[in-house]
């Protein structure tokens, strides 16, 4: 099975807008220049796009505009390869983390001299940090097969060279060294024996990398694990002999965005900008399916089932994040009790309530909830990352709370962990006892916090979704899905009546029944069938709404208002003046207790068991503009209905 992650891209970031180049050139004074640049840096940019953004940064500097709130950071770069191609992508990537990065580059082949000479360009620039970007070609690792003594001497010599450079930096400018370890070449000499035989390259480079790590541990200097990055993408991809020959590029330029991102996130970690809290959606993020509809037995979360394993794997990873001090929180559109059920009762669930610091399960928008989580934990929004499978929710959170990191998630949950890991939100340069204790400090009592006033501009967001709603009467094509929704929907379901496929089929041409199957498309894609309505003729001029259900995935998008307008329009057309509806409470449908009231119905009575009865005069039904296009199909066939 081929996986869908393009390792030459920053696949956890959203794709840039089509007019990206234009937007880079038209940075304006109206809003903070630094913020505009940072917004442009937040996309999955390729090397050319990073260069375009860097040009915009250079232009803003030249015009002496303030780049606040970007924080200045000066980085020296020591390398024997061609680094000029790296500087613009580094500048652009640093903006992603809130830095106005200035790079000072040593002359080609001048690494040791620049480090040692007190008056070198790098020392004179007083850098905050110096990146020592050497690769295997830059170390004196002479090939000495079978000669362990010579191999040790060679590695010693390589370390001596690095120590000299490091010492020079510390003495000359007291800057922090960011030291790259060494990606081994893709080629071998003997084959597997390279790992066994002293003096072969593989073994020597491994020994060198071990020595580099040992030498850095416990000092103020930092390791940049390029060997790890290169092995992740594959050594034969990382090293490009063509590009080395062409321009002395130390690695294939396709990985420039990834490399620059790793340098930038290391700088961010150095400045304490790592994120500290992971906020998680639940349905189809932590388990497969919808707990409110599928129930405890229906959600996918089991060993032995490939999909269930994928979610378990994510939970396992999240738990290890917690162990290293990342605070966990939940934001889910659910009823609180329902959402907590898997945490309390599901035998395979790894995450439990006591792992979650704040647990927000309600029907309010997620930005409002995430803001409440941030305030409750006293962690700024820039400390939060938010995981959600739903692109509409992700885009809303990005729009309202740009400080929160929101990764794109691949469609296959098997790749969630890799995505979250590659995004590097929790990159740290230290690990202390304090980190270990942080989870306890935040008292993981899974508490629920009251929401302040909703501040989110939902209406504006809904306009931007480019929604098209489609109404159709029941038909053969939709029959199976209609039946499935009727028998599965528990939450947004007014009466929870269940019908067989045969009953659904018979409704298709029953003259006393008016039916709707509703689909919704938005700019993120096709949501498929998301709502079903059945009205039965109750009197010559009245319809009783027998069934009204909707997928919670399209909650808060005014779909129910659009559906009501459609019912009202058809009713008027067919001489119906009264609509009646009822709410039959179940354990799961508290969400729609006030459905009819919100839509302008008047309560006419109640029955045993909490059932409420509602009525609407279609002539006084509110007409309002709803932010979506409406399409109708197949109604000619049902013209006789009503």
């Amino acid at each position: 099975m081929a996986h869908s992650l393009n390792l030459e891209s920053l696949f956890w970031l959203p794709k840039p807008p089509p007019d990206f180049g234009q937007r880079c050139r038209s940075i304006h004074d109206g809003n903070s220049v630094g913020q505009q640049l940072r917004e442009l840096a937040s996309y999955d940019l390729d090397e050319n796009q990073l260069n375009r953004l860097a040009n915009a940064i250079v232009k803003a500097r030249r015009e002496k505009r303030s780049l606040l709130p970007l924080a200045p950071f000066r980085l020296g770069i020591l390398s024997n390869s061609t680094t000029d191609l790296l500087v613009p992508p580094l500048m652009a990537s640093a903006v992603r983390y809130g830095f106005d990065l200035e790079c000072v580059v040593a002359g080609y082949g001048q690494v040791v001299q620049t480090a040692l000479a007190p008056d070198s360009t790098i020392h004179k620039a007083k850098p905050d940090a110096v990146l020592i970007a050497l690769d295997y070609r830059d170390y004196p690792l002479a090939f000495s097969p079978g000669n362990g003594e010579a191999a040790k001497t060679a590695v010693d010599a390589a370390m001596d060279q690095l120590d000299a450079i490091r010492g020079g930096i510390h003495a000359g400018s007291n800057a922090i060294c960011i030291i790259q370890n060494v990606a081994p070449p893709a080629e071998v000499l003997f084959g597997s024996l390279d790992k066994v035989l002293p003096g072969a390259w593989r073994g020597m480079i491994e020994a060198l990398n071990g020595r580099i790590a040992d030498a850095i541990a416990g000092t103020k200097d930092i390791l940049l694990d390029i060997a790890g990055l290169a092995s992740m993408v594959g050594l034969a991809n990382w090293h490009s002999p063509e590009e080395w020959n062409l321009a002395k590029l130390p690695f294939s330029s396709g990985y420039t965005p990834m490399y620059a991102e790793h340098v930038a996130r290391t700088i961010a970690a150095l400045r304490g900008k790592s994120r500290r809290c992971l906020v998680m959606d639940l349905d189809n993020t932590l388990w497969g399916g919808v707990i409110g509809d599928d129930g405890l037995e229906g959600i996918q979360l089991a060993q032995g089932d490939a999909t269930g394993e994928a979610y378990l794997n994510l939970q396992r990873y999240v738990l290890t994040l917690r162990e290293r001090g990342i605070v966990l929180a939940v934001s889910s559109k659910n009823q609180d009790e329902t959402a907590r059920l898997p945490f309390r009762k599901h035998p395979e669930m790894l995450l439990r309530e006591n792992h979650i610091a704040v647990f927000q399960a309600n029907w309010n928008d997620k930005p409002t909830n995430i803001k409440a989580i941030s305030e409750e934990l006293a962690l700024g929004l820039e400390s939060l990352a938010f995981l959600d499978d739903n692109p509409v929710e992700r885009a809303l959170v990005r729009r309202e709370l740009p400080q929160v990191a929101v990764p794109e998630l691949p469609s296959d949950p098997a790749l969630y962990v890799r995505t979250l890991s590659a995004a590097g939100y929790f990159e740290s340069v230290t690990f202390s006892d304090e980190d270990l204790k942080r989870a306890d400090f935040y008292q993981d009592n899974s508490r629920r916090v009251a929401l302040q006033n909703q501040f989110t501009d939902l209406e504006g967001y809904l306009q931007s979704l480019e929604m098209t709603i489609t109404f159709q009467p029941f038909d053969e094509t939709g029959r199976a899905r209609i039946t499935q929704l009727i028998n599965k929907s528990n939450q947004y379901n007014l009466t929870t009546k269940r019908y067989t496929e045969a009953q659904v089929a018979s409704a298709e041409d029953d003259p006393n029944v008016f039916t709707l199957q509703v689909r919704l498309v938005d700019k993120f894609g096709d949501n498929g069938m998301i709502s079903v309505v059945i009205c039965r003729k109750a009197a010559a001029d009245a319809w009783e709404i027998d069934t009204w259900l909707m997928s919670c995935r399209v909650l808060s998008r005014r779909v129910e208002n659009a559906v009501l307008q459609e019912i009202v329009n058809v009713a008027k057309d067919r001489g119906i003046s009264q609509l009646t509806g009822r709410y039959i409470p179940t354990e799961r449908n508290q969400l729609v207790e006030y459905h009819y009231e919100k839509l302008g119905f008047k309560q006419t009575g109640s029955e045993h068991g909490g059932i409420t009865l509602w009525e609407l005069d279609v002539d006084v039904a509110p007409t309002e503009s709803i932010p979506m296009k409406v399409q109708r199909h197949g109604f000619a066939m049902a013209a006789s209905v009503g």
Binding site: R52, L246, S253
Partner: protein, 80 residues
């Protein structure tokens, strides 16, 4: 891919590489005609063309290129 489509795609790549949406490609266009077309930018151009068209060039092929027309012919030979 016909020549018009090829030039269209190549133009978009040039705009991206040179951060200049005004560049108009002609077969006669050379590096000295375009602002910022130095040796480093040339590397980025070659790599971007390789990626954009899904082709690979040998160093000897790149070395022989004299103008945009040569580049377009090389691409056409590889994608056909």
């Amino acid at each position: 891919m016909d020549n018009i489509a090829l030039y269209e795609k190549l133009t978009a790549i040039f705009h991206n590489v040179f951060d200049d949406d005004e560049i108009v490609l002609t077969p006669q266009l050379t590096a000295s005609d375009v602002n910022g077309w130095d040796s480093l930018r040339h590397v980025r151009l070659v790599v971007s063309v390789e990626k954009g068209f899904g082709v690979r060039f040998a160093a000897s092929e790149v070395g022989r290129l004299k103008n945009v027309g040569d580049l377009a012919s090389l691409i056409a030979a590889k994608v056909s």
